[in-house]
Symmetry: C2
């Protein structure tokens, strides 16, 4: 009987629903099969979802597994391609999308972000291992090729895709009327808030950002450099912004605080649109001025919509906007990367600090 030495890789996994279970695991090295590519992970962005999964709030292992490899924002390099894979070759930089379709009409039409049946999987979140390991296997349909000039910040493409969808959908919704938005409010100054501000500034809007950070924080300085105003909610509560600003055409809610979401609803201007992007995993009830909000929604033709995930189309839009924004504000995206943590310190990376904008877990350096 021969002994087989199996190659293994390191990854970061959790036991879903079990708080603080993040740990290093060893997995078999993925093999290159027909129609798939082998991806070597360079770096993985950490976001609130990763932290909340590690807090045990949600997350689901793949079928048959009792752990979930986390990580859904990864920049990788193609290590090898299987038979039948065209359009990619070893050395190509890639960011993979997150959601994998089910059989619903939306998924089948290429918009798994609008999945109707809810039986999609999401790598690193729901029913499929993520990217926080040394290698993973991927099908070309979910791989977005990254121009090498974008290497320093391309890991931000996944969070950028979230606000690409949010803003695209808002503008798409408003094609129903004459809509010439001039003023936007962004709630939250994390990656979603800042990337959203970039897209709104590229669209030519006046942007006002409100969040918890102090005005002199890095977040505040970046936003000011983008030509937005930044105010701390300590002095400028959300309930007062429409009195402060006047007509607000678009609000991007990026805090995931449901109280803020409903406060924002009451701040929208006539024909205004509120986009909710934040996941509120709790079970809080709050009192709201229901008559006033309902009346305003009706009389002002206002819209509130939720936006989750992003399909491949939004990743591709993000590539365009990366380039436009870098031309307008050189170096802007690299300023968002505030910590790079080596693989062994993944627990530190998962521990979000107030001064963090985007933390990266470095898996390989080239």
């Amino acid at each position: 009987m021969a002994t087989t030495l199996t190659a293994t890789i390191r990854a970061v996994a959790v036991t879903p629903k079990q708080p603080g279970s993040a740990r290093q695991v060893e997995l078999p090295m993925p093999t290159i099969t027909r129609g798939t590519a082998l991806m070597r992970v360079l770096e993985v962005g950490i976001d609130g979802t990763d932290t909340e999964i590690n807090q045990g709030l949600y997350g689901e292992p793949p079928p048959g597994a009792n752990f979930l490899v986390i990580g859904h924002e990864a920049l990788s390099v193609v290590e090898g391609v299987g038979e039948g894979v065209s359009g990619f070759r070893p050395g190509d930089l890639v960011v993979s999308t997150v959601r994998r379709p089910d059989t619903c009409p939306n998924c089948q039409a290429g918009e798994s972000d609008m999945c109707l049946f809810g039986t999609y999987t999401e790598r690193g979140i729901k029913g499929a291992h993520g990217y926080m390991g040394e290698y993973y296997s991927e099908a070309p349909a979910f791989m977005v090729k990254i121009p090498s000039a974008l290497r320093p910040f391309a890991v931000l493409l996944e969070p950028l895709s979230i606000v690409e969808k949010a803003t695209f959908q808002a503008w798409r919704i408003q094609e129903r009327m004459v809509w010439q938005p001039a003023r936007a409010v962004v709630l939250g100054a994390g990656p979603i808030g800042i990337l959203g501000t970039i897209l709104l500034r590229l669209r030519g809007l006046e942007v006002h950002v409100y969040a918890k950070s102090a005005p002199e924080s890095l977040q505040g300085r970046i936003l000011t450099d983008l030509g937005a105003t930044y105010q701390s909610v300590v002095d400028h509560p959300v309930t007062g912004i429409k009195d402060e600003l006047g007509q607000i055409d678009f609000i991007l809610e990026g805090t995931g605080n449901s109280a803020v979401a409903f406060e924002a609803m009451a701040q929208l201007g006539t024909n205004g649109v509120l986009c909710l992007t934040g996941v509120s995993a709790g079970n809080r009830s709050i009192e709201i001025p229901a008559d006033v909000i309902n009346l305003q929604m009706v009389l002002g033709n206002r819209v509130t919509f939720g936006s989750v995930n992003a399909n491949r189309r939004y990743f591709e839009m993000g590539l365009e906007h990366f380039q436009q924004a870098e031309q307008t504000w050189p170096g802007i995206f690299e300023r968002l990367i505030t910590r790079r943590v080596p693989f062994g310190d993944f627990l530190s990376a998962l521990d979000r600090r107030p001064e963090d904008i985007k933390t990266l877990l470095t898996i390989a350096t080239a």
Copy 2:
């Protein structure tokens, strides 16, 4: 000095903001001027807005006046046309639109229902006299010609236009994604609820209506005849309808009860749309499960939007749907007219009774 005998007309007016001020007034007979037509009013529908204006909740007189002629749902006949009026001649049946544009981009583009500046006027509601009198003067741009076959129920065109807009806008919003709605819920069984049900049934949807009336009420029987289900909220509270029905693609909120509006938000299915059409004139605060609603909105790409008024385009859509619906359910619209009140009894007409669907004030009989 000669004495001039001026012809006068009778009308119903209120002193806005003064509860119970509805009274008969005498006004000068409108004259036919260049570019206007003289309209002889046949009948005027009463709705919640009229009642609420007479309760002193809102309403605004024309500039310089201290009273407001109410009424905004009128079927009239052209009595005479001024120079420069084309497309209309004496004897034509007409329903006039309600809102008059200001200088905002939306109004200038023919969508005064989406008015951005808010300085529009509304006949019978805000800054312009309404139709609850014997004659009024009108410009052709706001006159919708009614085929004579629609005479028996054409007075319902204004409330129909409200749900034309609400449904059209919902479908327009959802052009942003693959959306094949199959099941709708309608909240409220007044004219808005029933007319909304008619449009949704014409679109081929399964429709479930929830309201206060008993199942054996006329409202319930009409809705059942339309192929909808009807349930009383006494046995079937709004908070339970998604458990009762499963995936709900569209909800039309027609009660104006803000608590119902926010309950409805939590009942929407994935990719679902809630349209709010009811004006909640109070100042009530309520407690809502904010985390859950926000989370559902985000994860399910849900939309809530408000819809008010209707521009001319929706009146024209209504003419088409009048004919389609009459072919499908002959006599359906006349069943909605549950009381016809002679002019002198206008106070009785303004007093809404639970068994009323649509009350008409009869001004002239031919």
